[in-house]
Symmetry: C2
Subunit: 445 residues, 2 copies
C-alpha cells in the first residue's frame, strides 16, 4: 500500500462545495488540486451588502491559498478549466493537461435570463464579487450625476432603481438599498429630495420569497413597503432596453439601473461525458452525487441536481457545503475499502433579512420574524464567514451602522467595469472618459 502511487483528486471551483470537499480531504492520502478562476473564495450570502455599500468587497472574500495553507496535500491553481477530457482523465487549464483519478465539479451557477429580451444586456447581475462592486459604483455614480443634472426627467431616471426578482437576494438587496438611499445618501445629497428616489421590486409570481411560509412572506412585503419600496408582485417583465423595463401591461419603468436577481441556472464545463442535463442546465447526479455511469466524477453545489424526498435540492450554500463534505468523506472511505451511505441533505432552515431589526427565519416548523430572527441571522452569518479578520471587520461595520445609521463604504472605486456587455454601466462610461483624458494628456506632453 505504501508503495502505491497517491491518487489524484481534482476539484473545480473554490466555492462552498469545492472548499468543503478540499477541507474534508485534507487529512487523506489523496493529492488534491483545487482550481478556481479567482484567488479568493467569496461568501455569497453577503454579496448584496457590497452593492448596498454596507461592507467592503474584501470583507466577504478570503484568499484560497490562506485557507488551504495548512493542508499539505492540497494545491491551488488560479485559472479556468476549459474542458474535461474523460478519455485521458485530465482537465484542460491554462493550456495544460491536469490529470485526475477522481474529479469533483463544483463550479456553481450562472445567471438565468429566461429569454427576457434585453435582460442580459441591460441589467446588472449580482453573482460575482466584481458584479457587486460594479453595481455599487453604478448606483453611487447615478446619485452623483443626479445631483448635478438640471433635466428633471433625467434626474428621475437616475434616481430610480428597479430590482427584478423577489427571492432572497432581491429582497435582501432591496431592504439594504432602502437603508442606504434613505439614510446616508439622503444626508450626503441634501440637494436631492427624498421623494425623488424610487426603488421598485418586481416579482413575477404571486409572492415574495416563495420558499417561506405565507405569513413570513407577507411580513417581508409589508416591511419593504414601509421602507418606501414599491413592491410589485405578480407582474411580468416583457423586455428591458436602454429606457428601462417594459412590463407585460405596457407600463414602462424608466431607469438607468435594473438589477437582475430573478434566477440562476447550471452550466457544465465542455466535456466528453454522457450527461443528462435538466432544462435549467443542472447535471443530474445519483445518490452518491456521481454522474450516472461514472464512478469517479462527482458534481456538488448549484450545478448538481440531487433529489431529496422527491424534490430537487435548492441551489443554496448549505446544500453545497454538505455535498462537498460528503464527497470528501466518500472518497476517504472508498480508499479504505469502506462503503458510504447515500447523500442525505439536512435542512437547517432558511432566513432572510430586510434590514435593521427585521428578518424572517424558518427552521423546520419554527417560524420567526422580527428582532429575534434578525439576531439569529447576524449570528449565523458571522459564524460562517471565513477568516477572523473578516468576521471582526464585518461586525464592526454592522455595529457602526446600527449605532450611527451610517455606512462609510461608499466609494466609487475602481472606476472601471471590464464587461464588454455592459455598455449601460455608467461607472464604465466614466472609466472611458477617464482613459480618454489620459490619452489627451499624453498627446499634449
Amino acid at each position: 500500500m505504501a508503495e502505491e502511487l497517491r491518487k489524484k483528486v481534482v476539484i473545480i471551483g473554490a466555492g462552498f462545495g469545492g472548499l468543503n470537499a478540499a477541507q474534508e480531504l485534507s487529512d487523506s492520502n489523496f493529492d488534491v488540486t483545487i482550481i478556481d478562476r479567482n484567488n479568493y473564495h467569496t461568501f455569497f450570502p453577503l454579496l448584496y451588502q457590497v452593492s448596498a455599500a454596507e461592507i467592503e468587497p474584501e470583507q466577504i472574500a478570503a484568499p484560497v491559498r490562506l485557507i488551504l495553507r495548512k493542508f499539505k496535500n492540497v494545491k491551488f491553481i488560479r485559472g479556468e478549466v476549459s474542458r474535461i477530457n474523460y478519455k485521458e482523465k485530465t482537465v484542460t487549464c491554462l493550456g495544460e493537461q491536469i490529470p485526475f483519478d477522481y474529479l469533483i465539479v463544483a463550479v456553481g451557477s450562472v445567471n438565468a435570463f429566461f429569454n427576457v429580451p434585453g435582460a442580459e444586456k441591460f441589467t446588472f447581475p449580482l453573482k460575482t464579487l466584481d458584479d457587486g462592486m460594479i453595481l455599487r459604483n453604478h448606483i453611487l455614480t447615478c446619485f452623483e450625476r443626479a445631483s448635478f443634472i438640471s433635466d428633471p426627467i433625467q434626474r428621475t431616471r437616475l434616481l430610480t432603481i428597479a430590482i427584478i426578482g423577489g427571492g432572497p437576494t432581491g429582497v435582501e438587496f432591496a431592504g439594504a438599498l432602502a437603508e442606504l438611499v434613505y439614510g446616508p445618501l439622503k444626508k450626503d445629497f441634501p440637494e436631492l429630495s427624498k421623494d425623488s428616489v424610487r426603488i421598485v421590486l418586481i416579482e413575477g409570481s404571486k409572492t415574495l420569497i416563495g420558499m417561506f411560509d405565507e405569513r413570513l412572506s407577507k411580513y417581508v412585503a409589508r416591511t419593504l413597503q414601509r421602507k418606501g419600496i414599491e413592491v410589485r408582485i405578480g407582474v411580468a417583465v416583457k423586455r428591458i432596453d436602454k429606457k428601462g423595463i417594459i412590463l407585460e401591461s405596457g407600463e414602462i419603468v424608466e431607469t438607468e439601473t435594473v438589477v437582475w436577481t430573478a434566477g440562476v441556472r447550471g452550466e457544465m464545463i465542455p466535456n466528453d461525458l454522457r450527461i443528462e442535463l435538466q432544462p435549467n442546465g443542472r447535471v443530474k447526479v445519483d445518490e452518491y452525487l456521481r454522474i450516472p455511469g461514472y464512478r469517479d466524477i462527482f458534481v456538488v453545489g448549484d450545478l448538481a441536481c440531487a433529489y431529496h424526498e422527491g424534490k430537487a435540492l435548492p441551489m443554496i450554500a448549505p446544500v453545497a457545503m454538505q455535498q462537498g463534505r460528503y464527497v470528501g468523506d466518500y472518497l476517504k472511505k472508498l480508499s479504505r475499502g469502506k462503503r458510504t451511505a447515500p447523500f442525505r441533505y439536512r435542512d437547517k432552515g432558511s432566513m432572510v433579512t430586510v434590514g435593521r431589526n427585521q428578518a424572517v427565519s424558518q427552521i423546520g416548523a419554527l417560524k420567526m420574524k422580527g428582532y429575534f430572527a434578525w439576531i439569529i441571522w447576524i449570528f449565523i452569518h458571522i459564524l460562517y464567514l471565513i477568516g477572523f479578520r473578516n468576521k471582526l471587520f464585518v461586525m464592526i461595520n454592522w455595529i457602526f451602522d446600527y449605532i450611527f445609521f451610517e455606512k462609510s463604504v461608499r466609494l466609487i472605486l475602481p472606476r472601471c467595469c471590464d464587461n464588454p456587455m455592459h455598455i449601460h454601466c455608467i461607472a464604465r462610461r466614466c472609466g472611458e472618459n477617464y482613459s480618454k483624458k489620459q490619452s489627451n494628456v499624453k498627446a499634449r506632453v
Copy 2:
C-alpha cells in the same frame, strides 16, 4: 452687508490642499464648491501599502460628501474640470459652466517620466488608488502564473520586481513588498523557493531618500539590503520595454513588473490665464499663493511652486495641507477687510518607514532611526488618516500583521484594469480572457 450676494469660491481637487481649504472656509460667508474626479479623498502616504497588500484600498479613502456633510456652505461635484475661463470667471465641468469669485486650484501632480523611452507605457505608477490596486493585482497574478509555469526563464521574469526611484515612495514600497513576498507569499506558494524572488530598487542619484541626512539614508539602504532587496544606486535607466529595464551600462533587468516612483510634475488645467510655468510644470505663485497678476486665483499643493528661504517647497502632503488652510484663512480675513501675512511653511519634519520596527525620521536637528522612529511614524499616520473607522481598521491590520506576520489582503480584485496604455498589465489580460469566456458562453446559449 446682509443684502450682499454671497461670494463664490470654487476649489478644484479634494486632496490635502483642497480639502483643508474647504474645511477652513466652512465657517465663512462664502459659498464653496469643491470638485474632484473621485467621490473620495485618498490618503496618499499609505498608498504603497495597498500595492503591498497590507491594507485595503477603502481604508485609505474617505467619501468627500461624508467629510463635508457638516459644512452647510460647502457643495461637492464629482467631475473633472476641463477648463478655467478667467474672462467669464467660470470653470467648465461636465459640460456646464460653474461661476466663481475666487478659485483655488489644488489638483496635485502627475507622473513625470523624464523622457525615459518606454517608461510611460511599460511601468506601473503609484499615483492613484486605482494604480495601487492595479499594481497589487498584477504582482499577485505574477505569483499565481509563476506557480503554474514550467519554463524557468519565464518564472524568473514573473518573480522579478523592479522599482525605479529611491525616494520615500520607492523605499517604503520596497520595504513593504519584501515583507509581503518573503512572508505571507512564501507561505502561500511553497512551490516557489525563496531565492527565485528578486526585488531590485534602482536610483539614479548617489543616495536613497536624498532629502534625509546621509546617516539615515545609509541606514535605510542597509536595512533594505538585509531584507533581500538589491539596492542599485547611481544607476541610470536607458529605456524600458516589454523585456524589462535596459540600464545605461547595457545590463538588462528582465521583469514583468517595473514600478515607477521616480518623480512627479505639475500639470495645470487648460486655461486663458497668463501663467509662468516651471520646467517641471509647477505654477509659480506669489507669497500669498496667488498666480502673479491675479488677485482671485490661488494655487496650493503639489502644483504650486512656492518658495521658502529661497528654495522651492517640496511636493508633499504637509505643504498642501498648510497651504490649503492658509488660503481659506486668507479669504476669510479678506472678506472682513483684514490683511494676512504672507504664507510661511512650518516644516514639521519628515519620516520614512522601511518595515517592521524600522523607520527614519528627521525633525529639525533631531534625527532618529529604528524602533522609536517607527512608533512615531505609526502614530502620525493614524492621526492624520481621515475617518474613525479607517483609523481603526488600519490599526487592526497593522497589529495583526505585527503579531502574526500575516497580511490577509491579497485578493486579485477586481480583475480589470481600464487603462488602455497598460497592455503590459497581466491582471488586465486576465480580464480579457474572462470577457472572452463570457462571450463564448453567450454564443453557446
